[in-house]
């Protein structure tokens, strides 16, 4: 009996359970299967204009539709169902059907659409309102308003905590990017992690510096191959809460790039064409011929050289003393042209969407000669959901190919600045280069020293999602990337004056080919569940990644003819200077738990366990994790009562760890390498380094607190963040006694670097009415960087470079005390009082090279069919000025106007020391010490009109079936600065400064 009753009980229990479940099941099954009817309708905005592309779903069912061009829609739904309308920029709207067949709805624009903004946090998405981490989003709209070819350029002035510096105005030039400061003591290893559509993308150059000498930096960056027009949004993850899920790679922040995806609705074809003109933002005020010759003669007199030597062609009358050429204009003052063509087709229905787009960008530069760089890219993606919506697949491919052609631009710019103003004609009458009887090196010889690179990038990615159970979803992210580079630099003998008789046997070419490919597989499970008022989102996933790179660079020297210079086979001598072959493997398990209590209290826990082939055997796996908390206190009833104007208020904070694995491959192994020493015609093998089984990541602990406020229905929004991150376990060369066989071991040292900062953002909608809208946003970052500790700094290789308590980016210099009125020589502070100015002891002035603060101010106005966007970008900073690489004042090189204020006779109080041709020792020493003194660092702050964009909508697409918009855009239009040099951003007189670009374009949509 007992057994029976047990069975009965169990049966009863089961029946009870089933009864409880039945309503749920039946309602869904019934609705899903039987009483369905077609509901049609129309969606309009508050002005009654139809809205296309609105997402319409039947609440708690997997049925959806999208509104057409005229706002109309149709959907299968039951009479008791509720339709939910959603569209970015509008408030959600739920409309019960109540048995109607036709429904007309009007959607309300959302003022700032705060709740609608969905942020991509990499493995998950989160709404702006409920995020616990620090994520900045830059939308395609903002990127598109700038005539740029590298998407990184579009982030400047738009994101707090992100410092971006252009290295040159040349096409293809790299950008330095730092998110919340420099974490690693090593100058390499501060790059953020880039992820494009879920696929990690290595920003490490495959280029060879010997080849790409025209471009500053360590070779051409793979990021140049990205096309800003294909990007939907860029999200930058900054704090521990957002980055810890990226574990050992998240320490320097994460840049998530999402490409555009097809949107459902009628097929849309659009074309966007623009052409632009570019010129350098600034040139230096140099001496004219009369002033120059005066200084030169004075220099000879000062040095007591009389008569003026035969080889001083500029002053001794060999060159026409009345000739004047503005060499800056001649050598980097041309107008650059650019053309951009873009076309795209997108469309689909609620189940399948696609997008195909192609882009061409061509650009010349400001240097003489005919050099064109171009970039062609294509993006294609398709996404599909099955009818029952349980399975979805998204496939996205992105291909781009870029060609860079440049002369030896750095030398051209240098020459533009230093050539004497009376230097001879560039060309002879017959059009050949004029060498003026071998009295000068014609600067156009640098046109012969040319650089050509071809790079291609392929990024393919597939996302699969399958709903296992209503709340449980399986997802997989599969990705593949491939990068190729082929570079060649040609240095033919024709760059040298033919009078020297140097032939093609001295020509050479530098070749470099590189390839990198990587794949990633990331299976994930997502489980979301509600426990009453508490909702839980959880995620667990695995990651497997492999990346292999190969690079071969060689020099081909000596040819029988210069026409064969590109052929490696024709070279007399081939020498390999790099044959690199590396593999990197990585695996991880990661997870997230997010608890949300009524949208009021939110806890976000993330973690990752990482394994990487870069770490030594004892440290192969590591754990990282973070906790984020947010309290949306505007949701509290008392707040709503007390501060009714406060539409949104949130306090959040996070703490956690992440790591930096930019530590090179194989660095822990005690391998043998081939030596450059030979013995009896064969190469030796030598032990490369000591075995370090504890070789591991740099650890970064991040803490953040922030306050977010929305006032007057979010018309005023404020975000304030305070962050502190401490990086320890720094990878440096730890000095060892030589008895170990080596001077140092690359290992993790308990040195700590601290970055702290305040980030402020203010966004306001100043005026908003039917025809006019004016909104502003302002952002400001005040960063601080400090070396907190470094054991045995004195004994290390960093002894003369770093100071504890000072920022990493500091420099030690002599202190310039001015010019001695008696001698006319620069005077420096003799700190150790030994009567001599000597390095290291007398270099006691510490200058900080990081910005004190930086930010941007953006204003957007729309008046009827006009749209105006104005972005100002600013940075308060110190930087290297002209003096850093200035010429010897008085030598045969031209000088800036302000050097006229030089010391001439005894008693002169002048800022510049006496002119010298370099024949007297004292002024020469003065010059060299001056280059190492605090005079080379001065204010490099600037305020720049970064972007100005005006557009006018000629035709609205919705009304006429064809839409047309014309626009004018400008980049770097105006710069306010006291900087003494070419450009406060590049801070170099040896490369092309940032360009001022003006463009005109048209967008047509069908």
């Amino acid at each position: 009996m007992k057994k029976l009753s047990f069975y009965v009980n169990r049966k009863t229990l089961f029946l009870l359970f089933h009864l409880l479940l039945a309503p749920l099941l039946t309602s869904s099954m019934v609705a899903g299967l039987s009483i369905q009817s077609k509901v049609t309708g129309k969606v309009t905005d508050s002005d009654g204009l139809p809205i296309a592309g609105v997402n319409i779903v039947v609440e708690s069912k997997n049925v959806g539709s999208i509104s057409d061009m005229d706002g109309s829609f149709s959907i299968q739904a039951g009479p008791n169902d509720v339709l939910v309308f959603s569209m970015v920029g509008f408030k959600h709207l739920s409309v019960p059907i109540f048995g109607r067949d036709e429904i007309i709805v009007q959607m309300q624009e959302d003022v700032t659409a705060l709740g609608e903004v969905v942020l991509n946090a990499g493995y998950y998405t989160v709404s702006e309102k409920e995020r616990t981490g620090s994520i900045v989003k830059v939308k395609s709209m903002d990127l598109e308003k700038q005539p740029i070819s590298n998407p990184i350029a579009g982030l400047q002035g738009r994101a707090t905590g992100v410092q971006i510096q252009q290295t040159s105005g040349l096409p293809g030039a790299n950008f330095n990017i730092q998110i919340r400061g420099q974490n690693s003591i090593r100058s390499v290893g501060n790059d953020p992690l880039y992820i494009i559509d879920g696929v990690p993308f290595s920003s490490v150059s495959l280029g060879e510096q010997q080849a790409s000498i025209a471009l500053p930096g360590t070779g051409i960056s793979p990021l140049n191959n990205l096309d800003p027009n294909t990007i939907e949004s860029i999200e930058i993850l900054k704090d521990a809460d957002a980055t810890a899920i990226y574990g050992s790679r998240g320490a320097n922040g994460v840049v998530l790039i999402t490409t555009k995806k097809g949107k459902g609705g009628p097929t849309q074809i659009s074309f966007n064409v623009f052409t632009g003109l570019g010129s350098v933002t600034n040139t230096l005020d140099m001496l004219n011929t009369a002033e120059y010759l005066e200084l030169r003669n004075e220099a000879y007199a000062n040095d007591g050289v009389d008569p003026i030597p035969d080889n001083a062609y500029d002053v001794n009358g060999t060159w026409n003393p009345n000739r004047y050429t503005n060499w800056q204009k001649e050598l980097f003052g041309k107008t650059a042209f650019m053309t951009n063509l873009q076309g795209s087709i997108s469309g689909g229905d609620q189940h399948t969407q696609f997008l195909v787009s192609g882009n061409y960008h061509g650009q010349t530069d400001v240097l003489p000669g005919d050099y064109t760089s171009s970039k062609v890219s294509g993006l294609a993606n398709i996404s599909h959901r099955t009818l029952d919506d349980r399975f979805s697949v998204q496939l996205s491919t992105n291909y781009s190919s870029a060609v860079n052609n440049l002369p030896n631009a750095n030398s051209m710019v240098t020459q533009g600045i230093v050539l004497p103003p009376n230097a001879p004609e560039l060309y002879q009458e017959d059009g050949s280069l004029n060498w003026e009887n071998s009295t000068w090196d014609n600067p156009l010889r640098h046109l012969k020293d040319s650089y050509n690179s071809r790079t291609t990038t392929f990024i393919g990615n597939m996302r699969l999602a399958y709903t296992l159970m209503p709340e449980l979803q399986f997802m997989a992210n599969l990705g593949y990337t491939e990068n190729h580079i082929k570079e060649i630099r040609l240095v033919p003998s024709t760059r040298i004056d033919p009078a020297f008789g140097i032939g093609s046997e001295n020509s050479y070419a530098v070749h470099n080919t590189g390839e990198r490919n990587s794949w990633i597989i990331e299976p994930q499970l997502v489980w979301n569940h509600g426990f009453g008022k508490l909702s839980l989102q959880s995620l667990v996933g695995l990651s497997f990644q492999e990346q292999s790179s190969e690079q071969l660079s060689l020099q081909a020297f000596g040819f029988s003819s210069n026409s064969l210079i590109e052929s490696k086979a024709a070279a007399n001598d081939l020498s390999v200077f790099g044959d690199i072959n590396q593999k990197y493997r990585y695996q991880a398990i990661f997870g997230r738990l997010n608890f949300n209590y009524q949208g009021k209290y939110i806890v976000n826990l993330t973690g990752r366990r990482d394994g990487s082939s870069r770490f030594g055997p004892n440290k192969r796996f590591s754990n990282f994790g973070a906790a984020g908390l947010a309290w949306v206190f505007s949701e509290e009833p008392f707040m709503q009562k007390t501060f009714p104007f406060l539409s949104f208020a949130k306090i959040k904070g996070s703490y956690g760890t992440s790591g930096n694995d930019q530590i090179g491959d194989y660095q822990y192994l005690d391998t043998y390498s081939f030596s450059n020493l030979q013995y009896q015609n064969s190469l030796g093998l030598y032990p490369t380094r000591l075995f370090n089984p504890d070789f591991s990541w740099e650890l970064n602990k991040k803490m953040e607190v922030s306050l977010e406020l929305g006032l007057f229905k979010d018309r005023i929004r404020f975000i304030g963040n305070y962050y502190r991150s401490r990086s320890s376990n720094q990878l440096v060369g730890i000095p060892l006694p030589a008895t170990t066989g080596f001077g140092s071991i690359i290992g993790n040292l308990e040195a700590t670097v601290e970055n702290t900062g305040i980030e402020l953002e203010l966004a306001t909608v100043n005026i908003q009415n039917k025809n006019f809208r004016w909104s502003s946003s302002f952002n400001l970052t005040i960063p601080k960087n400090k070396l907190v500790s470094f054991p045995d700094l004195e004994g290390s290789t960093y002894a003369n470079q770093l100071v504890i308590g000072e920022p990493l980016n500091s420099i030690k210099l002599y202190q310039l005390n001015g010019v001695d009125p008696e001698t006319g020589l620069y005077e420096f502070e003799d700190f150790n009082g030994d009567g001599e100015i000597t390095s290291v002891d007398d270099k006691q002035v510490i200058k900080h090279m990081n910005p004190e603060f930086f930010g941007g101010l953006n204003n957007s106005l729309s008046l009827g069919k006009f749209n105006l966007d104005v972005l100002f970008q600013f940075s308060k900073q110190m930087g290297f000025n002209y003096w850093r690489n200035g010429s010897i004042p008085g030598s045969n090189r031209n000088l800036p106007q302000r050097l006229l204020q030089r010391w001439q006779t005894e008693g002169d109080m002048a800022p510049v020391q006496r002119m010298t041709v370099g024949r007297s020792l004292d002024p020469l020493i003065g010059y060299f010490n001056h280059q190492q003194s605090d005079a080379v660092v001065s204010d490099a702050s600037y305020l720049r009109l970064k972007t100005l964009s005006i557009s006018y909508t000629l035709m609205d697409k919705i009304k006429g079936g064809i839409g047309c918009e014309i626009y004018a855009r400008g980049q770097n239009l105006w710069t306010w600065t006291d900087y003494f040099g070419l450009d406060p951003e590049t801070q170099s007189t040896q490369t092309v400064p940032s360009l001022r670009i003006l463009s005109l374009g048209t967008i047509i949509k069908f």
């Binding site: 159970m469 489980w527 695996q587 093998l685 006694p737 008895t739 080596f742």
Partner: protein, 467 residues
Amino acid sequence: MKKYKQPIYRNPLIGIYKVLSVILMITVSCESFVEVDLPQDQITGEAVFEESGTVQASLQHIYAELRDNAFTSGKSLGVSYLMGHYADELHLVNPNLNNILYYEENNVLPTDDFVLGFWSKGYNLIYATNSIIEGLTVDSGIPEVERNNYLGEAYFLRAYLHFYLVNLFGPVPYITSTDYTENQAVSRQSEVLVYEHIVEDLIMAKDLFSATEINDDNFRPDHWTAVALLARVYLYQENWESANKQAIDLISQGGFELRTTLDQVFLKDSGETIWQLGPGLEGRNTHEGFSFIVNSPPPNCVLSENLLDSFETGDRRRSQWVGTVIDGETQWHFPYKYKQVSGTETTQECSILFRLSEQYLIAAESFAQLGNTTASLDYLNPIRDRAGLSFLSPMPKEELLDAISQERRVELFTEQAHRFFDLKRTNMANTILSRIKLNWDPTDILLPVPDSELSINPNLNPQNEGY
């Protein structure tokens, strides 16, 4: 009923649990996933010792370093050049060579770059020898005879490198392992102890080298090189009998032969060379030639008056091994043992580290010390004879030792600091050098240990006296 036993929706937690356990299994089983192969341009230590070619290459690297960058190099960073100035062989003419001037004037500082170079390059190469010894000891798949020869070379080199360290710096650590955790805190060992280790290693090397397989080109040390160094080391230890035995063994059984004419001694194919350093590429000649030979005056450095005066009249070495260049009134004399300044079609000369003459002089000295004057003269006179000097007749022991010392001076001048080491081991350095060198202090007998080394590893304290 049955079909209801399967609930339509299972508890999702069970699903998660199952998936998690699968994930965990995958993770655990995939730890080897993050192991990667090595790149082509690097080889693991293990792989190096699996093949003869790579073991040879790692030894060749050490020889190339000895030729180009370590103590024995003929460049101005080697002991021939620097210690030649430090003792009484060379005189610096170019006043701008400050770093050499410190040696000329016996004012070497603990921060000196050459000192750091001697020390750190020495220990760097010792690491390389230890790495070979440790690598070859494991079952490495190289035939035993070959393996023993490589081991012999490594043990020999370890001894040879320590020999220079102990002579330059006095007490030094004798390093026999690659473990940096151990080697970063080592202390200095007494000179006696270091010499004992050197002898141990050399005996080991001598036995490991197969006595039958001799390198014809003398570009790598072999059994007889170990014997030669052993003879030298015993001599330095004043172990006359052993020194004598090794030297006599080598002279009688080594198959080497004194060249009759002086201009053949330093040629590549000279029959009296026991070990010489091969060229990097065919056609290159010695660094000594480049460092010493003066083509156009003024020279950087010349032979000291003192050394020139010490040649007996009629010594052909004075005319054949000393070069002369004339600058107006001034005559400059320079070491001219090696005649080639630059490259030639095929290599003519190589830097010689061990040659038979030294062994004759070791035999002569040890016989003299043991009281056998006749035998001593039997080995001294052939060297004098070749230089065109008369045979010496028997004489009292002290006089004979002086004669041998004088012979060593003019025979081995500017070769790997023989002169300075001889002065040092015979306790004559103070007497002789204080007479000639203004700044000579008794403590100058040793170079200072690099300052940076003492600060990184305080166990190396105290610094040598006088610094």
